[in-house]
Amino acid sequence: MSEIYLSHNNVVSNYGFDSLAAVNEIKQEKSSLQLIDDSQILSKPVCTSRMDTEKLKEAFALLNPRESYTRLEQLLIVSLEKTIKASGVPLNERVGLLISTTKGNIDVLDTQNPFPEERAYLTVLGDKIKDFFGFQHEAMVLSNACVSGVLAIAVAKRFIQQGTYDHVFVVGGDLVTKFILSGFNAFQALSDAPCKPYDKDRVGINIGEVGSSVLVTKNPNALAKESVVVLGEASCNDANHISGPSRTGEGLFRSIESAMKQARISASEIDCISAHGTATIFNDEMEAIAFNRANLQATPINSLKGYFGHTLGASGLIETIVGMHSLHQNTLFCSKGFEELGVSKPLNVIGKTTQKSLDIFLKTASGFGGCNTATIFKKVAS
């Protein structure tokens, strides 16, 4: 079976309009989280990361849109346009479009929002993106809670291996909205300071907002220099609780084992882990248990939530993209916000950005509904 690559990629975030804008700042251990006081989204100040609205509008206007687009559509289109352009892949009948989002245009449900409620249907969002670029097939939309971004890569890979497509553009994003913040706040899961994954003083998550995109392809030619091969992937449910992580890390542990089996590698061959690390008490503890069960307790690990916050449907995608750059630059990125281990099992949390020869990384994510995913990537030999 042919190998599947992740190639050209883009992240539109508070850091800037491409992946390197984010990666270069992450390398300097600079967070993009900031305290925002906006009563439109929450009655109290909230620590978040959002692309500046005016800058986004300017960037979007350069693409000569012929109608009005929502904020999320603008984010996704601006990101995807850059990835399509960089890839040079013509959008013919062998090219698919896969959208990863948890809530899509959920802000249109607010009676103050100028767009009609129909825009909240995720296939309407899919059509807007498809039509903007002229994709020949309907957009596939994956909405699988916080694992959507990582799972989308596996989904794209499978459709290519099944022969449905030769290339799939995956684009992911979600907004920071009153809808989302009020919900996480009702769970008492929000931190009003920058989050601290795996730290003993962690108190909760920050929600962030990005648009991101990547080309998944079977074509080994014209790859981006930071490209990786997907060695193995798996997704397993905890079968335990819809909003609480498993106490044994069951689904995550099984996902990692299954992904390693498909990749035909052992735990010792994994150079680093880009974990979910939301900085809630229960999530981080669950991950520590699962990584220990998988014998990965000594493997350097980070959570990137301290840089972007939790960007929901985009999180797995941007964290994979940053992981690709991490391999390419042979650099372990510091797990921002971490000072002292606050989980019950040992973890080798990266306390400082360090140069190291890297070849293989593991990306994991977990989410509501008890879902977990693990995907293993290997640097493309130059």
Binding site: K103, G126, M140, V141, L142, A145, G183, I242
Partner: protein, 201 residues
């Protein structure tokens, strides 16, 4: 295009009727979903302690899945669901609870159901399935992607069987069509056959 896999069994819930493999198993004149599904749940003898705490989409999906899984010994079964409305029915409820500053009262019990894949989590809990879940959104029932994706999961040995189909709940209207794909079974697993089973019930 057919594959070496087969459809083992299927079920449908819509317009007051519940059928399994084409045979009617429950019927009610009740037009309102919550009353209909409650009677169906009791009549069919389904037992899940959280049933009455769940949203409509999860109730619909759980009852449909139970018809096919209640006597199913295989636990290595992936779930691949799709619908049009995602979790919009519950999203609207959450939005109502935050729309006005005076009546601002978001509830975690509602918010947790504002994701379509939660219904697969409920089914996984009830049937002890530690397997893959994927939820796709399409504006109508579409066999094409379900067919390719299911074949991929089985061919890559990610699961022994796949429970897949459609579960949609929107503005009081409900429609569930689930089927089990396995190595052996009565019905052909092809796009045409899937569409036919969906349309003829």
């Amino acid at each position: 295009m057919a594959t070496r896999y087969h459809i083992e069994q299927y079920c449908r819930i819509t317009n007051g009727r519940i059928s399994k493999n084409g045979a009617l198993v429950f019927e009610s004149a009740e037009t309102e979903f919550s009353a209909f599904i409650k009677t169906a749940y009791k009549t069919l003898g389904i037992a899940y302690s959280k049933f009455f705490k769940m949203d409509s989409l999860s109730k619909l999906a759980l009852v449909a899945a139970d018809l096919l899984l209640v006597e199913e010994p295989e636990k290595n079964m992936a779930l691949v669901f799709s619908n049009n409305a995602s979790s919009l029915d519950t999203d609207r409820k959450h939005q109502q609870s935050i729309q006005d500053p005076d009546g601002y009262f978001p509830s975690p019990a509602v918010f947790v159901y504002t994701l379509p894949n939660i219904c697969m989590g409920e089914i996984s809990i009830k049937h002890r399935l530690f397997s893959e879940n994927s939820f796709f959104i399409n504006n109508r029932f579409l066999a094409d992607n379900l067919f390719d994706y299911t074949n991929s999961l089985l061919a890559m040995q990610k699961a022994e069987k796949v429970l897949c189909g459609w579960v949609d709940f929107d503005h009081g209207k409900y429609d569930a069509f689930l089927y089990v794909v396995a190595k052996n079974g009565t019905f052909t697993h092809s796009k045409e056959s899937i569409n036919q089973l969906y349309q003829t019930i």
